[in-house]
């Protein structure tokens, strides 16, 4: 285990500044999200002043359209928006990777059935599909998590299936089959360890995608519902300020952008390292 720690430390020391910047950003967001109630000066839905107060010492980022403290809502937004996106990504991964792995290992009809189903689901643009389903089932948070997780799991399925296929055709998998090993053993011991790197990278990319989709839905007023503090809806609620030359509404949008940039930087470096693409 110390060898692993040492090699990851060595890897870290070689990382470019962009990846380090990304890691710092991710860490900062995680800390903010976890300790949000401790950090935030005011409550999440507490009305502290009049509407649209400018930046001041009392309200560092002013107040929003209902007179709630912008900074506090930004901090709670880290918990809500990032937390929901993270949970959705984990769910999408559970569904997609198990299905993808099964399809690649079993092949035959299982693979055909799952792949065609995914083809059809991917034939509809995800945001549009999500809008349709949410119209029907209603825009609750749980519904949104489920809908986006299922839609996004199709992409996880495609990737997992593709990388697992590359491993399945290897002789060592054939050797395990010929030894008489069961399906689960082959998936767990022969295939999974060899596809962890691309899956980890994909997790980062999918998180970004889910995060952006959820923010987009919230921005459209169809995602996280008020009074929950959420970056997407904060942009929407305060958008009018822009026309008065006030950049406050862009700040939650920038917060979203900064996190996705950070994750993308780390993933980009990680992919570069694990794919052996040196220069």
């Amino acid at each position: 285990m110390t060898a692993v720690a040492q090699s990851s430390l060595r890897l870290l020391r070689r990382s470019p500044w962009s990846a380090r910047f990304g890691m710092v950003v991710i860490l900062a967001y995680a800390v903010t999200a976890i300790f949000a109630p401790l950090i935030a000066p005011y409550g999440e839905t507490e009305i502290v002043g009049i509407e649209y107060e400018p930046w001041s010492e009392v309200y560092p980022l002013g107040t929003d359209n209902l007179g709630r403290d912008m900074l506090s809502r930004m901090i709670f937004g880290a918990q809500n928006t990032v937390g929901v996106a993270f949970a959705t990504t984990v769910l999408a991964f559970l569904i997609g990777s198990v299905a993808g792995l099964t399809a690649a290992t079993l092949r035959g009809w299982t693979d055909q059935g799952l792949s065609r189903l995914v083809d059809v689901m991917m034939a509809i643009p995800p945001l549009v599909f999500a809008l349709l389903i949410l119209t029907i089932v209603g825009t609750t948070m749980l519904n949104m998590i489920l809908v986006i997780a299922v839609l996004d799991s199709t992409r996880v399925f495609r990737l997992t299936r593709a990388v697992a296929m590359n491993v399945v055709v290897m002789d060592f998998v054939e050797a395990a089959r010929l030894r008489g090993e069961g399906l689960w053993w082959i998936m767990r011991h022969e295939i999974l360890p060899n596809i962890m790197a691309p899956l980890a990278a994909e997790f980062g990319l999918r998180f970004c995608f889910v995060f952006l989709t959820i923010s987009a839905l919230s921005f459209l007023g169809l995602g996280l519902q008020p009074p929950t503090a959420d970056w997407g809806s904060m942009v929407r609620d305060n958008a009018t300020l822009i026309s008065y030359g006030d950049i406050t509404p862009v700040i939650p949008a920038a917060a979203i952008a900064l996190l996705t940039v950070g994750v993308n930087f780390v993933v980009d470096w990680f992919l570069h390292e694990t794919s052996g693409l040196k220069e």
Binding site: M170, A175, L178, G180, H189, E190, P193, N194, K278
Partner: protein
């Protein structure tokens, strides 16, 4: 800097002069040296053979002669003088203008080195036109003449085909023609026949030699096969680990090698086990009886039958596409036959492997050609060998550990050093040994060896063959040896089965198979194996010409 200043090293006809060449490759830890200071001289019109195993640096040196280093490599020291001009320090533009124009390159796999998006003629003409040697029309008519000279079929039209429409042997000759396009002073041949079947190889060797002699072109011929280089080169340099081992005139180097390593290389083909005759009344351990099999509508195997007896080695020989690997897939149960059956000790095995019992699976083990892909890169040696022990024999804990160590000793790898390694930390030969140990751990009776030595260097391959031979005696194993290499057959087989286009052409004891007369195909196959004798190719071509006059044409189908 120029050749005139160095009159003592070979006079005016010296074309290439390399001194103290060092080449570095990029690794995880930084730059590490691959070639450690090599000198090389080449006169005009001379053919120099570079020989060595993988990792000897021969390709890297060959490319360095063009002032070129692959991505991730760099020419770190030394001088490369081509026709009096130093290339290592020269600007890239200057080097670029020499490449393809005065120094040309022929790659190992022509099928991969021709661009799939363009016709052969467009690729041929690109060099001469871009270097301003001749115009497009002139280049085209020149190409047709060259195609004719190297005896490509339909020289008038073959250039207007795409690479995937032309066979491998023909592409390799077309690539030689392309290298000739600007009438270069030097051509670097980088293992040009390694990817070809042995029967196809002859025609390509003949074409290359012909073309080089015709234009008095100097050549560097890179190969790992000493017998091939013996036919092509005037002079040979033996390389190992990026250093020169020995250098000399071809005939004297072959007849009187000075270094131990060269001697070993020459002796490789001498290892041979004594043939054991099939026991008179014993039943075979494994038998294929009237097997017909294929994928979908395509039938690959037609009514194939052969037997493998206890403690015997049956070599199944044939070229790519002969169906020998498909036969192995039928035996292992990966491909159920459409007709016929596989018998084990007289009893029919279930056609599909997942219908076979654990014990049936255990008795029949397999070793693969590419040890790289046969070992899970994430599993340590102890787990690779330990798994069958646990799975088949129920060994766990200390018992399992002791057995793994014993198996490692059996395959001549020090247990303490190797037990915790990952496949990435092993050499090619060591990996193949681990695969053998994994098969052995199941305590099998029959082992299918699918081209187990063809991806290995000759000396390493010989070690594997000797190991397999020893294990056969110790454990009473039967081997089915799938191979295209007749030297391997000669070394290890008791019986030989020759396959061609999915049928068994001929079969019998080894001694009979290596004595004429034969089926045409067997003759073609046997006579195509290069020999160390530098006159072998001339003699063979003369013999075949003579046979052709008598109406018996021995020639690979795709030539």
């Amino acid at each position: 800097m120029s050749a005139q200043n160095e009159p003592d090293t070979g006079g005016d006809d010296l074309l290439l002069r390399i001194r103290g060449l060092k080449i570095e490759g990029r690794t995880e830890e930084g730059w590490s040296e691959i070639v450690h200071g090599v000198d090389l001289d080449l006169r005009r019109g001379e053919v120099l053979g570079l020989i060595g195993e993988s990792g000897a640096g021969k390709s890297t040196i060959g490319l360095a002669a063009m002032g070129f280093a692959r991505d991730g490599c760099r020419l770190s020291a030394g001088t490369i003088e081509f026709d009096g001009r130093e290339l290592r320090a020269a600007p890239e533009t200057a080097r670029r203008k020499l490449r393809g124009n005065r120094i040309a390159y022929v790659a190992q796999s022509a099928a991969a080195a021709f661009n799939p998006a363009h016709r052969l003629m467009d690729q041929y003409c690109e060099g001469p036109v871009q270097h301003g040697v001749m115009g497009r029309a002139e280049a085209e008519s020149d190409a047709i003449q060259l195609f004719e000279r190297i005896r490509l079929p339909d020289p008038e039209t073959i250039g207007f085909r795409y690479p995937h429409q032309v066979s491998g042997g023909q592409l390799q000759r077309a690539m030689t023609a392309m290298a000739m396009a600007c009438r270069p002073d030097l051509i670097v041949f980088d293992e040009p026949t390694t990817a070809l079947d042995v029967t196809t190889q002859i025609e390509v060797l003949a074409a290359i030699r012909d073309a080089v002699q015709q234009f008095g072109t100097a050549a560097i011929y890179i190969t790992h096969d000493l017998a091939v280089v013996a036919q092509m080169a005037d002079r040979i340099m033996v390389l190992r680990h990026g250093l020169l081992v020995e250098e000399g005139d071809t005939r004297s180097l072959l007849s009187d090698p000075q270094e131990d390593y060269t001697r070993e290389l020459l002796q490789i083909r001498e290892f041979q086990v004594d043939e054991r005759r099939r026991p008179a009344d014993a039943a075979p351990v494994l038998e294929m009886r009237g097997v017909t099999a294929g994928y979908g509508a395509a039938t690959i195997l037609h009514d194939v039958s052969f037997q493998i007896h206890k403690k015997r080695t049956v070599a199944v020989v044939g070229e790519s596409g002969s169906g020998k690997s498909t036969a192995a897939r039928v035996i292992t149960g990966l491909l159920p036959p459409t007709a016929g059956e596989v018998l084990y000790n007289g009893e029919a095995l279930p056609p599909r492997f997942d219908r076979r019992t654990k014990d049936q699976l255990r008795r029949l083990q397999m070793i693969y050609q590419m040890a790289d892909t046969a070992l899970n890169p994430k599993q340590r040696v102890r787990d690779v060998i330990g798994r069958p022990l646990e799975f088949y024999l129920g060994l766990t804990g200390a018992q399992k550990r002791e057995r793994v160590r014993a198996l490692l000793e059996m395959i001549e790898l020090e247990p303490d050093t190797f037990i915790d390694r990952l496949p990435g930390e092993l050499s090619g030969g060591q990996k193949q040994r681990i695969c053998i140990a994994r098969a052995l751990a199941a305590e099998p009776e029959v082992i299918l060896c699918d081209e187990v030595t063809s991806a290995l260097d000759p000396l390493v391959a010989e070690g594997i063959l000797k190991l397999l031979d020893r294990l056969q005696d110790e454990f009473d194993l039967s081997y089915m040896f799938i191979t295209h290499d007749l030297a391997t057959v000669r070394a290890i087989a008791d019986e030989v089965v020759v396959m061609h286009r999915g049928k068994v052409v001929e079969s019998g004891p080894k001694s009979e198979m290596f004595t004429p007369p034969h089926h045409d195909y067997t003759d073609l196959l046997l006579s195509s194996v290069p020999e160390m004798d530098p006159d072998w190719l001339d003699r063979l071509l003369a013999e075949r010409a003579e046979l052709a006059r008598q109406g018996r044409v021995l020639k690979a189908a795709d030539n």
